[in-house]
Symmetry: C2
Subunit: 207 residues, 2 copies
Amino acid sequence: MYSSKYLELLIEELVKLPSIGHKSAQRLALHLLRAPREDALRLAEAIRAVRERVAFCTVCGNFTEQDPCPLCVDPERDSTVVCVVEQPVDVLAFERTGRFKGRYHVLGGALSPLDGTSPEDLRIRELLERLRPPEDGGEAAGEIREVILATNPNVAGEATALYLSRLLEPLGLRVTRIARGVPMGSDLEYSDQVTLARALEGRREVE
Amino acid sequence: MYSSKYLELLIEELVKLPSIGHKSAQRLALHLLRAPREDALRLAEAIRAVRERVAFCTVCGNFTEQDPCPLCVDPERDSTVVCVVEQPVDVLAFERTGRFKGRYHVLGGALSPLDGTSPEDLRIRELLERLRPPEDGGEAAGEIREVILATNPNVAGEATALYLSRLLEPLGLRVTRIARGVPMGSDLEYSDQVTLARALEGRREVE
């Protein structure tokens, strides 16, 4: 088979990326070969820079260029409420709403026996550490009074939320779960039955 | 908005890749941040190596680590027939069949007024150069007797094949077009009407 060792090596590395199959990797590799030289080298350099300059916050687990991250040290933010999410992208999603001014905690995934993700693989120990009152040797973060479970509304996320709510129950904190219901701007006609059932269950008095 | 300059730069570069939107770029960037350090650096290095070690063959236009490429200099291959394709991936596709032992010529695209691809953007001048007989100052490649037009069976590819066939007509070569018809293993029931019409038009005596 006609090929190039260097192209094959690049394809091999590209295939490791999420949702990039062999055909896509081949197309991307040939694109990088044909694209302006500076573009290709800038991409290589950007990957290197990210690994050199960006890391994860030891408090919340979000990506950051300084540790602890700006969201964890910002005195303007409410330290009494922590929003627990699966991934850094979820932090970005909440930040885009501009409606949450508390702290975050990134688990790094969700419980999934099928994928082999167990509680030890998530940043649950770090969460408990943050919730420990100061007199117990915990950080000043002992001031946390509410934990919002904002894992994804799918099987793994729901299981994780349930697991965490059981785990946090003895701590005497307010533990909440984000509302699941019909998304804004959607048509009820096209809502699946699980979502509609949730929307009924979670109904509230009109204020 | 919370972010990291280095992550943003990486996302910006990833978005330039074909069929990578902003959401995919964000997911890829965060993956590269979380993946084993060696994997990320290996990808950066592979991109750099491809740009340093791989280039395009000045004869056929395919990617190669040496110029002319192995396919152009292989004495075992038939120099009298040239298969004209749009992209290097098409060369790989024909090589996978193991049924073509001639030379290739990569155009680098297809004629498409909508995308702004005109004849000057394709390696057509280089093709004519290869077809020029040696007594005319052309290379030894003047021995070419058949040109197979193997551009894609879509609007741009058909237009390119038609354009080339008109252009090559005065040269007195055999100019052929790959057969278009029902693909092997498919159901006639699901074939579109243009393909079926082509299959009828291109019918041949049963041998």
